[in-house]
Symmetry: C2
Subunit: 104 residues, 2 copies
Amino acid sequence: ARLRESVMNTVGGNPVVVYSKTWCSYSLLVKSLFERLGVEPLVIELDQLGAQGPQLQRTLKRLTGQHTVPNVFVGGKHIGGCTDTVKLHRKGELEPLLSEAVAN
Amino acid sequence: ARLRESVMNTVGGNPVVVYSKTWCSYSLLVKSLFERLGVEPLVIELDQLGAQGPQLQRTLKRLTGQHTVPNVFVGGKHIGGCTDTVKLHRKGELEPLLSEAVAN
Ligand SMILES: N[C@@H](CCC(=O)N[C@@H](CS)C(=O)NCC(=O)O)C(=O)O
Ligand SMILES: N[C@@H](CCC(=O)N[C@@H](CS)C(=O)NCC(=O)O)C(=O)O
Ligand code: FES
């Protein structure tokens, strides 16, 4: 419950949040996509949190149904993983979400 | 030296070898690419070998200069990672290598 609350505060209080792993190319792809779009995500590297990493990953699974990384939130809304984020961008739907999230 | 020899025997004795990790999307991409091309690679999942996994990864680094996964060999020749393999395929150079490797 404490971790769950912490996740909700994090994604609610930051326009773009990426739960990531430092060694993961898919996580890197999504982080650099946001960079290219001129947005700086809050990045949480799950492999750098010791025992909390796996706990956080389980909490995210319970919250979003997704147990993989990267796990992406824009404007508090769960976007999905790398593929989902890239797909959204290709449809032209990511940037509007970003503008809105950054404005709020 | 023993692990190094084992790698050389493996890549020398099999047309396509992929050193991989089961949870890694880049490793998955390269494995499914070969599948689409009708080739069944020998896959070594480094995360399923206990302590030998990291040792093997270090041996590959010394042998190929590459410390990441996936680590791909065709016809005994070091191809590279996921991006290298996909690039080679886009240039139309992967399938000729595969035909040659499978023929030998
Ligand atoms: N299609 C998903 C794939 C996500 C995925 O399989 N992520 C892997 C790493 S690339 C993962 O989280 N594996 C389990 C783990 O690392 O705990 C995406 O685009 O994000
Ligand atoms: N550009 C390389 C990226 C390779 C890479 O960064 N691999 C990551 C996993 S996606 C890795 O091996 N990280 C260190 C590790 O898992 O030990 C490729 O296309 O293969
Ligand atoms: S760990 Fe390889 S792409 Fe995520």
